[in-house]
């Protein structure tokens, strides 16, 4: 190689020595933390008021890790003399994060924008059964959902 002027053995020593002086790249977690990018798939958050119990996310999940139960209720009509409406009410929305592949299909297919990605990743549990999170916990994660960032030039 034209760039190596010294014999390779000596050059190698130079590389490690220079590296030693350059300093470490370690981020000392948990004392220091790095922020993941905005789009990082950390955890899925649920916006309960948007969910209409259409079951699309549960059906499209490759692992079938979303458990949804709901029931229909009757609501009073919007106008006088109209029909009674039926709405679906969400009883149970559990995501089993022990099974979740973090693929994002559920977030993508939801037609009502009830599921969001959040870059929060610090939710490990000591017991694997505790990784089944219910809709209350999923709703809490909505606060960590970042704003969608602007796109690059040339995008439409």
């Amino acid at each position: 190689m034209a760039r190596m002027k010294l014999p390779g053995l000596v050059g190698g020593l130079g590389v490690t020595f220079k590296n030693m002086l350059k300093g470490a790249v370690t981020v000392q977690y948990p004392h220091e933390k790095e922020d993941p990018p905005t789009r990082a798939r950390g955890v899925i958050a649920l916006k309960e008021e948007n969910c209409t119990v259409c079951m699309l996310c549960a059906r499209q999940c490759p692992d079938w890790c979303i458990y949804i139960e709901g029931h229909k209720e009757k609501r009073p009509p919007r106008r006088e003399g109209g029909r009674e409406r039926t709405v679906s009410v969400l009883d149970r929305f559990d995501i089993d994060y022990a099974l979740c592949m973090y693929c994002g299909i559920c977030v993508e297919v939801c037609p009502f924008d009830a599921l969001f990605w959040s870059p929060d990743f610090e939710y490990s549990e000591a017991n694997i059964a505790d990784l089944l999170h219910d809709k209350a916990k999923l709703g809490e994660w909505m606060e960590t959902v970042p704003e969608p960032e602007p796109l690059e030039e040339g995008a439409e």
């Binding site: 490690t16 790249v25 000392q28």
Partner: protein, 344 residues
């Protein structure tokens, strides 16, 4: 004959004291070398930090914690292992390390026993570890261990010779095999009539120094000569079945021997505990150990720097290097040294 201690003690107490010091020095040396070079220097060469949490300040407590952890582990022995040999092997390796420290001087009188054949004794006794390695590999009843032990035995025996030949040049120049004699020859000698820095033998015996370093690297089974413990192939070679306290022994043996060889190289080639021009024996006794420590850390730095940079040589390439290259170079070095000694 300067009294090192303030009180007069009989030879029994002196012996007990010296034994205790040596027993404490080897793990201490292993700890210091292990922490500084294996944990910290290697990490920085690899762009990472090494242990930072244990003990608060840059993880100084890491190895001590590791030692305590190893001590409280379960004693596991493979079912088919040869029990007595399995248990004795680490002891043999470590004992040979302790025995080297008997002749290493740290001050004008700070030596356990200044044998007249100090260098000869040190090298002879350090080669006992080969037996321990073979015992470990055979008794483990494991093919990987056996492969590692056989490789190690061949390698350690092959590199005994360059080690010895490198030292013979020093002995010729110093007119003495005793380590204290070699230290004083370097401290009181002169180069080209200038006595400022004495005559550290590294200047005239640079070939011997290089040979000694290479052979010491091989004796310690460190890269580029770490085929016996090739991590990615044999998974610790002859040590693979050892856990807990026994593995700690091997670890102490390895780094203790590194400490011993660095101290030996510092004594033989860099002038040992002596600061040339400093004649005050009382002062030398106090700063001698510190001077020796600084010099041996420099040598150890070189050894570990090479360890973390180079890939490993294959076993047959290793043997070729020893037999076909290093031994002739060592012999030539002795010839030239002897000739120059007679004529100059």
């Amino acid at each position: 004959m300067i009294p090192t201690l303030a009180v007069e003690v009989g030879w029994g107490t002196t012996l007990a004291l010296k034994t205790l010091i040596v027993l404490g020095l080897v793990p201490f040396g292993a700890l210091v070398l292990g922490y500084t070079f294996l944990l910290k220097m290697m990490s920085h060469m690899q762009s990472r930090l090494g242990p930072m949490d244990p003990g608060g300040f840059h993880g100084w407590y890491q190895l001590i914690g590791d030692g305590l952890k190893f001590i409280q582990k379960e004693d596991v022995m493979p079912a088919k292992a040869d029990r007595r040999v399995f248990a004795l092997a680490p002891a043999v390796v470590v004992v040979s390390t302790f025995l080297v420290f008997v002749v290493l001087p740290a001050g004008p009188e700070l030596v356990v026993s200044d044998l007249d054949v100090g260098v000869f004794y040190a090298l002879a006794v350090s080669s006992l570890s080969v037996v321990g390695v073979l015992m470990a590999g055979w008794a483990s009843a494991n093919k990987f261990a056996l492969l590692g032990a056989l490789r190690a035995a061949a390698q350690l025996i092959a590199y005994e010779l360059p080690l010895l030949l490198a030292v013979v040049g020093v002995v010729i120049q110093a007119d003495s095999m005793s380590l204290q004699g070699i230290v004083s020859a370097q401290a009181n000698g002169e180069i080209f009539g200038i006595g400022l820095i004495g005559n550290p033998f590294i200047l005239t015996q640079f070939v011997g120094f290089a040979l000694f370093l290479v052979a010491a690297q091989a004796e310690l089974t460190q890269a580029p000569f770490d085929m016996p413990v090739a991590e990615s192939e044999l998974v610790a070679g002859y040590m693979v079945e050892y856990t807990g306290f026994r593995f700690l022994f091997f670890f102490i043996g390895e780094f203790g021997t590194a400490f011993a060889f660095s101290a030996l190289a510092a004594t033989l080639f860099l002038g040992g505990w002596a600061v040339p021009g400093l004649d005050n024996e009382g002062l030398s006794t106090v700063i001698g150990p510190a001077v020796l420590f600084a010099k041996l850390m420099a040598v150890a730095f070189l050894m570990f720097w090479v360890r973390f940079t180079y890939p490993r040589l294959r076993e047959d390439q290793l043997q070729t290097l020893a037999w076909k290259y290093l031994i002739p170079i060592g012999l030539a070095n002795i010839l030239v040294t002897g000739a120059l000694k007679v004529w100059i």
